[in-house]
C-alpha cells in the first residue's frame, strides 16, 4: 500500500485506517449516505452515529439529477434531497463539520462527473480538499477518461477510487490498479446499487481473483447489493479488505418513523454488521 503521509497537508487517513484494521484483524466497514436525505442537518447526525457505532470510512453521496449507476432506493433519496434544495456546496460544508468532529475518519465524496464539471473540476477538487475530504468515487468517469481528473486530484493528494466490474479483463484491471489510490472498489454484481437477497457465486469468485491479481498493492473493498450479516461474513471470508453498504443504510433512514428511531436503528444495524467484519 502506498503511504502518502509525506507532510502534514497530505492525507494518509485511508491508508492508516486499513493498516490499523488489518492489525485488529477486521475488515473495513464503509458506509454511504445521500447528503441532504432526509435533511442536511440529519445527514450530520446520521454520519456521526455511523462513525460512533463503528463505521470506518464514510462516503458522502452528493446527489445528482440523473444517477444512472443507482437503483431505486438511492435514486429516490437523491431526488428527495435535491427537492429539499441540497447543493454540492452544502455537502462540502457538511464534510468540513464532520472533519472537525472526526479528524481521523476517512471521508470520500461519491457523485457523478457533471457535478464536478458543472462547477469546474479544479475548483471543485480544491474546495473538497479544503473541507477535509480524502478522495472521490465517480462511477461515470472510467480510467480511460480520467487523465485531467487524476492529474488534478493527485496534485491535491486526493484519492481517486475507481470501480472494478465483475466482467473486467486483466488488462483493464491492471490499468485501474495503476490509477487508483486509496482502495479498489469491486462492484459485486451486474446492475445498479440496491440490496440483493443473496450473493452470486461469481461475486465470491471475482473477489478471490481480484485479490490475487492486486497482490496487496491496494486494499479491495466490495460494494453494491450488500445488506445482511450473512453476506458480510461470506465476503470477508473470501478475502475482502472492506465492505461497502449504501442502499441498506438509506432504507433504514427511510423506514424510521422519526429522527430518534432512525439513529437507534442505524446504531443497532452497524453493531450487528460489525460482528461479521472480524476476519
Amino acid at each position: 500500500m502506498k503511504n502518502l503521509n509525506i507532510d502534514g497537508l497530505k492525507s494518509s487517513r485511508i491508508h492508516d485506517t486499513f493498516v490499523d484494521l488489518k492489525k485488529q484483524k477486521t475488515c473495513a466497514l464503509i458506509c454511504y449516505v445521500v447528503a441532504g436525505y432526509p435533511t442536511i442537518q440529519m445527514s450530520e447526525k446520521i454520519i456521526t452515529t455511523l462513525i460512533e457505532s463503528g463505521v470506518d470510512i464514510i462516503e458522502i453521496g452528493i446527489p445528482f439529477s440523473d444517477p444512472i449507476a443507482d437503483g431505486p432506493v438511492i435514486q429516490s433519496a437523491s431526488y428527495q434531497s435535491l427537492t429539499n434544495g441540497t447543493t454540492p456546496e452544502m455537502c462540502i460544508k457538511l464534510c468540513s463539520r464532520l472533519r472537525k468532529k472526526f479528524p481521523k475518519t476517512p471521508i470520500l465524496f461519491m457523485t457523478y462527473a457533471n457535478i464536478l464539471y458543472g462547477t469546474g473540476i479544479k475548483k471543485f477538487l480544491t474546495i473538497s480538499k479544503k473541507s477535509g475530504a480524502d478522495g472521490f468515487i465517480l462511477p461515470d468517469i472510467p480510467v480511460d477518461e480520467s487523465a485531467d481528473y487524476i492529474k488534478l486530484a493527485s496534485d491535491l493528494d486526493l484519492s481517486t477510487i475507481f470501480l472494478v466490474s465483475p466482467n473486467i479483463s486483466n488488462d483493464r484491471l491492471s490499468s485501474i490498479i495503476s490509477k487508483t489510490t486509496g482502495f479498489i472498489y469491486l462492484v459485486s454484481v451486474f446492475g445498479t446499487t440496491g440490496e440483493r437477497k443473496q450473493l452470486e457465486e461469481y461475486t465470491i469468485k471475482k473477489i478471490k481473483e481480484v485479490k490475487k491479481y492486486v497482490r496487496g498493492r491496494l486494499p479491495v473493498s466490495v460494494g453494491f447489493g450488500i445488506g445482511t450479516l450473512e453476506q458480510v461474513r461470506t465476503i470477508v471470508a473470501a478475502g475482502a479488505d472492506g465492505i461497502i453498504i449504501g442502499s441498506k443504510i438509506i432504507k433504514i433512514i427511510k423506514d424510521g418513523k422519526n429522527q430518534k428511531e432512525i439513529l437507534i436503528n442505524l446504531e443497532g444495524f452497524i453493531k450487528h454488521i460489525k460482528i461479521g467484519c472480524k476476519i
Binding site: 440523473d66 444512472i68 449507476a69 457535478i115 472510467p142 473486467i168
Partner: protein, 405 residues
C-alpha cells in the same frame, strides 16, 4: 478540409466514453464488431436490401413549389424521410443496428424513446429480424404519444413506462442504461440518436448518412454535374436526422448547414430545450457535450411541445460543429412549430411531425432571406399522425393562433 472525426472516439473535446465500468466490455465488443461489419460487403448488401425492399429507400427529394411560393424566396426542397417505413428517419438506424446486433449474436434489444418514433422503428426492426424488444419511455411521453405506444405494442415490443425524474426522454435513457448495466451480457442497447458513449454517435451518424448521400445524388440528378444545394436545414433534438443530412456535406464548405433546436416557450424562459444555443458543456449519458444544466451541474428540466426534441443533451458531433462554426444552430418556438405544422399541411398536403415542423419553420424564414435562384433542402424527419391530438389541444388552448408564418 479533411474531416475525419471522431479521433479516438472524440470530436475535438466532445464525445468519449463516460460510462460505468460494467459497460466497458460491451462497448468494446460493439466497437470491434461495428468496425468489422462496416467494411463487410455481405453486411452492407443485406442492409441495403432491407433499406430498399422493406423500408422504401430512396425517399423522394420533393420540390415544394407551394411552400416556396408561400415563403417567396429561395427554392425549398423537402427530403421526405416521413415516407420511410415506420414514419420517420429512425428506421435507417434501427435496421442498421438491429442487423449488427443479430450478427453479434444478441437476442434481446432495449431502446429508449421520446416521441415514440425510435421505439416504433426499433420494434419493427426487431419484428422483421426476429429479436426480442423492450422499450423505455417516459410516463409523460406515453401520454402525449399514445398512438406510438399502441403501435409498439402491436409490433410485439414491451413498453416500460418510466416514472422517475422528469418522466421524459432523459429518464427513459437513464432507465435503459440501468437495464443495460444489469443485463449487459445478453442485451444490446439500440441508441436512437447520435448520443451516448462512443461508438454510438459515430455509428448512428453513419447509418443516418444515407439521407445526406441521397440528397447529394438527387440534387446532382435534378440539376446536373456537381450541383449542390446552398443550405441544408434539419431539426436537432439528439440530432440524428441532422447529422445524417449534414455529414456527407461537411467538406462542401459552401453548403450552409442549419440545425434547428426546440425553443419551447422561448430562450428567455427556462421552458425550452435549445441545448446548443442555450447550454454549456458537461458530461451526461456517456458523453461530453453541450447540456442544459444549472450552476451546480444538475441537469435541467426541459420543455418542448415535441417529445422527440425534449432532451437536455445533444450529439457530441453537433457540439463540435458548433464550436468550429461549420454548422449554425438556431431555434424555433412551440408556437412557430405549430404554425409551420399547419402551413405545410395546408399548402403541400403533408402533415409533418412536430419535430420536423421546427425545421420547416426555419427553412421558410431562411428562404425569405435568400435569392430566388438559391436552393434549400429541408429534411422532413417524420410524419405527423402521432401529433394531431397535441396540435388539436394546443389550438383549443390558444384560439388566436391563426395559420400564418
Amino acid at each position: 478540409m479533411d474531416y475525419i472525426y471522431p479521433v479516438n472516439g472524440k470530436y475535438g473535446e466532445y464525445g468519449g466514453k463516460f460510462i460505468p465500468e460494467t459497460l466497458f466490455p460491451a462497448i468494446e465488443e460493439l466497437e470491434i464488431s461495428y468496425n468489422k461489419y462496416k467494411k463487410n460487403k455481405e453486411f452492407q448488401k443485406e442492409l441495403f436490401y432491407y433499406l430498399t425492399q422493406y423500408a422504401g429507400r430512396p425517399t423522394p427529394l420533393y420540390f415544394a413549389k407551394n411552400l416556396t411560393d408561400f415563403a417567396g424566396g429561395a427554392q425549398i426542397f423537402i427530403k421526405r424521410e416521413d415516407l420511410l417505413h415506420g414514419g420517420a428517419h429512425k428506421t435507417n438506424n434501427t435496421l442498421g443496428q438491429g442487423l449488427l446486433a443479430k450478427k453479434m449474436g444478441k437476442k434481446r434489444i432495449i431502446a429508449e424513446t421520446g416521441a415514440g418514433q425510435h421505439g416504433v422503428g426499433t420494434a419493427l426492426a426487431c419484428a422483421v429480424l426476429g429479436l426480442d424488444c423492450e422499450i423505455y419511455m417516459g410516463a409523460k411521453d406515453t401520454q402525449r404519444q399514445k398512438l406510438n405506444v399502441f403501435r409498439m405494442n402491436i409490433l410485439g415490443a414491451r413498453v416500460h413506462k418510466v416514472d422517475s425524474g422528469t418522466q421524459t426522454l432523459k429518464d427513459a435513457v437513464n432507465e435503459a442504461i440501468r437495464d443495460w448495466i444489469s443485463n449487459v451480457q445478453t442485451t444490446y442497447f439500440l441508441f436512437g440518436s447520435v448520443v451516448g458513449p462512443h461508438p454510438y454517435p459515430m455509428m448512428v451518424r453513419d447509418f443516418q448518412s444515407v439521407i445526406g448521400r441521397e440528397i447529394k445524388d438527387q440534387m446532382k440528378k435534378k440539376f446536373g454535374g456537381n450541383f449542390l444545394p446552398d443550405a441544408i436545414v434539419a431539426c436537432v433534438g439528439g440530432g440524428s436526422n441532422a447529422m445524417g443530412s449534414f455529414y456527407p456535406f461537411i467538406e462542401d464548405s459552401h453548403v450552409s448547414l442549419y440545425g434547428v433546436e426546440a425553443g419551447g416557450l422561448g430562450l428567455k424562459t427556462t421552458k425550452h430545450c435549445s441545448t446548443l444555443t442555450g447550454g454549456k458543456p458537461g458530461i451526461f449519458h456517456g458523453m461530453k457535450t453541450y447540456l442544459l444544466q444549472d450552476e451546480n451541474g444538475q441537469i435541467s428540466e426541459t420543455h418542448s411541445i415535441s417529445a422527440g426534441l425534449d432532451y437536455p443533451g445533444v450529439g457530441p458531433e453537433h457540439s463540435f460543429l458548433k464550436d468550429i462554426k461549420r454548422a449554425n444552430y438556431v431555434n424555433c418556438t412551440d408556437k412557430e412549430a405549430i404554425q409551420s405544422f399547419l402551413t405545410l399541411s395546408k399548402y403541400e398536403g403533408i402533415i409533418p411531425a412536430l419535430e420536423s415542423a421546427h425545421a420547416i419553420h426555419y427553412a421558410i424564414k431562411l428562404a425569405r432571406r435568400m435569392k430566388k435562384s438559391e436552393k434549400i433542402v429541408v429534411t422532413l424527419s417524420g410524419r405527423g399522425d402521432k401529433d394531431v391530438e397535441t396540435v388539436q389541444n394546443y389550438l383549443d388552448r390558444n384560439k388566436t393562433d391563426s395559420i400564418k408564418n
